[in-house]
Symmetry: C2
Subunit: 462 residues, 2 copies
């Protein structure tokens, strides 16, 4: 006998949690499609040489390699038992997107708007809330040669729609711009690109380590900035806007500055205006000059999203603008902008914070059975309800009615239908609504419609 | 520069094909849920010792092993470079189901009805239409200690609902029963279990190799059956029913026979009656005594599903009843019945047979743009349409209108909306319906409703 268990670091859910998770996936997908993003799925395995274009680094240390039994045997014969396997599991959805767009470039229309919701794999150190297999839900817009900054406004609008419908409390999409950041630092005498990156990395620690730590580091030996410059920098990165007008005022207060600052300002202004035109409420977006993100990668707009009442969860949805998606695979210049929800971790966080409740069952109706003689009628009724759009389960073997009700209650099934001799004779069915603790009898021909109306009313009233 | 390409043996789709594929997945899932099956997802990786409970055999030769960089380094240090890795990719959804049910036994309600739609991995020899990564869409009902044969009728009813809605032409769900098969063979003097299995395996080749081949083999040295017995066997396995009444008559014609035959007959009769009670049309199910399937595994009802006009595709959906799901993981007896659609292969077959057409885009509306000045209005309109349930894309940079129409046409977007100066002044929008080649102007407040009605009408009329 072998102990049945999953590998460490994966999330596996019982059915009712899986239903809640699936509803989140559905909501995300529906909103991604509302905004005109097209679905893409890629294989979980990529060729190693395609996946790991840059060797070394954090990424490669976390990658999972894949070998078929045949490949293992071949390598062993050739004495190459430790050679790098040909296949590896994707560790994000961005590298597969780059490969996909480069591979299918001639067949795609640009700007290419795609969404992708699949699992990715990272050999993370074991830790609570860190997963080795987790869902990412990504949207990206990829341009050919160029891509208007206007698209940078669409992503937050889509993310606003997603999180509003997910109904997980107040949230703020925070915006910054790397060009503005760079221009500002240049003005503070941090002109060297590499040094800027290092200062930005320290600035990125502001929320986690506090202002004192960052101040000491930046005036210390390694950086040697003046106390004045550091004070200006820290004053700057603490900037948050409280409204749309305030955001524009805070941008104006920065002055014209140098080219990079000027460009960043213009981009942020346009993005803010279009986010407003898209109808995103002012309470749901804000400037935050402390956001730097992926230092090598992002070049313009950057995003983070936080739950107002749970700042300790950190960013639940992040992304930004990049210069060139697929330079490893194609000579075409493919600038883009993207944003990503790490749903597995978010689901875990929401569960921990008790922000997701146990879902009702996906089964809406249970048809009970008291007597073998009624089974054919019960099955026929089930078919009527299913044809009427209701998810219906039939008890296939007679048992005590109390036991059947108890099962429905525990399983989260809302409607229990009794079709006894009396009901069959009268052409009716008796329904117990376990949510409203209500019981009623209805003509059989009206049953499906009646239950659909009840479900629809609860949905609307929620 | 690295050539962007996928590993061999995987299916990767362009967006419009992905949309068609996704619609099939949605249809299958919707019908699985209609029949009261609950969602389960399991990790793609399982512990090798859990996954490969039986060592050797076809399965292990096809399995993909997984190793993190860290695990590879550790193994190499310990000189165990060729030891079996701890993790492997699932090769079907049945072993993960067994592990899941055994692991969560105390938390599940039995009979446990689950569906699972995920990708599985097999290191298949490279061959057209054979995939190394493919979707399986499974439903199973698992009992504790026992499970009524009545459930064996629900699966074909669900599969009928799935394939009817997938709209891929006439199909027949073919039924047999392994007990009946065994009883019949015993009566023909093939009493030994192992010999039965071998005869059944030969009989299984009937469709592929023809009657002559099977006859020669069975009267030949290895089997040594009498010509009489072989004639009876071949007569038997060629039995197909043409209607419900015919199926019952063919069962009756077999006589009472021995215990095993009698039990198989009773089970098949009950299953047939309940399939009818569930409203499955007679044309969609039939007896087929030549179906044997997974010789070690299935013990009662067995299913195959064929497209009437494309018998050469073989079975597109198969399964059956098994005695004990998880004997490797638990002492509990868990009998079950299940059926599986291999969707990746089916999708490929349907494309080859030209039975799936290119899907419309998931984007339903394109809002054109002729002038920067109108962009905020276009974005506001997009938000109105999205709130009204329409998947909407906005052209973000002005270009020639003809180019924008051409894009919509190629992308399969049905409605193109023009919101020019005139329309804005009048509070209207001009719509071109590319499917109906029709153009109309409508008050802006009515636009979402009007387009929804058009889409709904096309859906109903289809």
């Amino acid at each position: 006998m072998i102990k049945p268990r999953t590998p460490p670091g994966v999330m596996e859910l019982l059915p009712r949690d899986q239903i809640a998770f699936q509803r989140m996936l559905d909501t995300i997908r529906r909103n991604f499609e509302r905004f005109g993003f097209l679905p893409v799925e890629t294989p979980v395995m990529e060729l190693t040489e395609v996946l790991l274009t840059k060797s070394g680094g954090e990424t490669e240390r976390q990658v999972y390699f894949v070998e078929s039994t045949g490949a293992r045997a071949n390598n062993a014969q050739e004495g190459d038992a430790r050679g790098t396997p040909e296949l590896a599991l994707r560790f994000d959805l961005t590298v597969p997107l780059a490969r996909y767009v480069a591979e299918h470039e001639a067949e795609l229309a640009f700007p290419f708007r795609r969404y992708q919701m699949q699992r990715v794999y990272r050999g993370e150190r074991q830790q609570r809330g860190r997963y080795r297999e987790f869902y990412q839900c990504d949207i990206d817009v990829i341009g050919k040669d160029s891509l208007s900054v206007r698209y940078d406004a669409e992503l937050p609008a889509c993310i606003y729609a997603v999180f509003s419908e997910l109904d997980i409390g107040a949230f703020t999409i925070q915006l910054n711009n790397r060009k503005l950041l760079r221009g500002f630092f240049e003005a503070q005498g941090v002109a060297d690109g590499e040094l800027q990156a290092l200062v930005l990395r320290e600035v990125d620690k502001l929320d986690k380590r506090g202002a004192d730590y960052v101040r000491e580091t930046l005036t210390g030996e390694g950086f040697g900035l003046s106390a004045q410059a550091v004070a200006t920098i820290l004053g700057f990165v603490e900037t948050r806007s409280t409204s749309h007008a305030d955001a524009l005022a805070k941008l104006a207060a920065l002055g014209e500055g140098n080219d990079s600052l000027r460009q960043g300002l213009a981009e942020l202004r346009e993005v803010l205006e279009l986010i407003r035109a898209l109808g995103v409420p002012e309470a749901n977006y804000a400037l935050n000059f402390s956001i730097a993100r992926g230092l090598d990668y992002y070049t313009g707009t950057v995003y983070e999203t936080t739950l107002n009442d749970y700042p300790q969860l950190g960013s639940i949805c992040s992304g930004g603008r990049y210069e060139d998606l697929a330079s490893h695979y194609t000579k075409s210049k493919l600038p883009g902008v993207g944003i990503s929800i790490g749903l597995t971790r978010l689901f875990w966080q929401l569960q921990e914070a008790k922000l997701v409740s146990t879902a009702d069952s996906s089964v809406q109706v249970l048809i009970t059975q008291m007597d073998d003689a009624q089974l054919p009628q019960c099955l026929a009724l089930a078919s009527e309800l299913r044809a009427g759009g209701l998810n219906t389960e039939v008890v296939m073997e007679p048992s005590k009615l109390g036991k059947q009700f108890k099962y429905a209650d525990r399983a989260g099934i809302r409607f229990v239908v009794v079709l006894g001799e009396n009901e069959i004779a009268k052409g009716t069915a008796t329904v117990k609504d376990l949510r409203r603790e209500d019981q009623f009898e209805v003509a059989r021909g009206e049953l499906a419609r009646t239950l659909r109306v009840e479900l629809e009313q609860s949905r609307v009233m929620k």
